[in-house]
Amino acid sequence: MTLDLQTAFARMNEYCGKIGRPIQVMEVCGTHTVSIFRGGIRTLLPTAFKLLSGPGCPVCVTDQSYIDVVLKLVQRPDILIATYGDMIRVPGSAGSLETLGIRSVQVVVSSDDAVQLARKNPKKIVVFLAVGFETTAPATAVAIAEAERLELDNFCILCGHKLVVPAMNALLGGMNHRIDAFLCPGHVSVIIGSDAYRPVVERFGVPCVVAGFEPLQILSGLAEICQQLADKRPRVASVYQAVVTPQGNRTAQNLLTQYFEPYDGLWRGLGRISMGSLRLRSEFREYDAMARFGIEEVPGKEMPGCRCGQVLCGLIDPPECAMFAKVCNPDTPIGPCMVSSEGACSAWYKYGHSRSNPS
């Protein structure tokens, strides 16, 4: 249920008083991060309540090795890269698609556009940069189904899809995490359903609360978290019942299992996460750019001095990075958390660094 502003704050203050110690809540999703900053929510929170930004920006958690593979692929004259906009600015070891001035790159707004690009360019092989969480992965599955139907042999994907729940498990399983509860992403949950968080609650005893992106919904979600912590009764809850069901979108889930399988893939900053990434099932190898071009995954080197890894795990706030705002800013980003508009460093830079949360 969405609360009004006063009620949400009154409840948070009351419950935080009951909890009697500082609490740290991670917003898993990059869209929440931006909305929280824009809504000025950080400035209004009880002093004992600290928000941590999590690994919920797909661009930020895409490992450098992925970009390095893309930069290898673009050297082939027969390849055309189709990508969502944010990816073109993410630095690999040698630069980004943008800074290197790569011309064989086309920005698309949907996976369907990438398929159409392949249809229109029969002499080229279109490689779609398939990144994103469970919200975006079903669209990639549909694109492959479409390519199959059209018998397109010049369409394939570089699969970088990631799964949210394994990342939450990995964070909580880490030695030095400081997470008391999760604010779970609204639109990922539309697909996976709120029941998907049950194992997290059962295993680690932390509240998992799904909220939409309006500031009031976020506040209602945070108030629900405070209540659960005060009552010491962690559970899965949703303040976004209008669109998030316990079971999620079955059509999308079925497509995901039909085309993909989870494996221990690389996340930037978090390393390999058990069953945290998706790859195409072996029967769809012909659509897998790695298999098609015989490319091996080589872990990338992190940018020296960039602390994105710690930012993504909620271990530090971006201003604690020595490069933040000095050398690293959205115009000349050093790490991916500054590149993506939903990255924590970028959000802090634009809205946050003068009015940080008291910690």
Binding site: Y84, D86, V108, V109, V142, H187, S340, E342, K350
Partner: protein, 88 residues
């Protein structure tokens, strides 16, 4: 990247549709929500509808998006690639 925006289905042919959000229209696919009908409100993400949505919920989000996109506020945000589907 995971932001979906509400839009109304104003044309529907198989799983190809035209969506309308605040007067902006663009082609989407309804493959992931086979139950939708002409006139339904859906959440659109990266060119695909991912669920249906209530009128009230849609209006709240449109209000929010309008505030975000006021000309006085040129600060780029996570929403800048809207309303074309929040592709990235």
């Amino acid at each position: 990247m995971c932001l979906a925006i509400p839009a109304r289905i104003v044309q529907l042919d198989g799983d190809h549709a035209i969506a309308d959000a605040m007067g902006n229209r663009w082609p989407i696919r309804t493959t992931l929500t086979p139950e939708v009908r002409l006139g339904d409100l859906v959440l659109v993400h990266a060119g695909y509808s991912i669920s249906t949505v209530e009128e009230e919920e849609a209006k709240e989000t449109w209000e929010l998006l309008k505030q975000i996109q006021t000309p006085a506020d040129k600060i780029p945000s996570g929403f800048e690639d809207l309303p074309m589907g929040g592709g990235a």
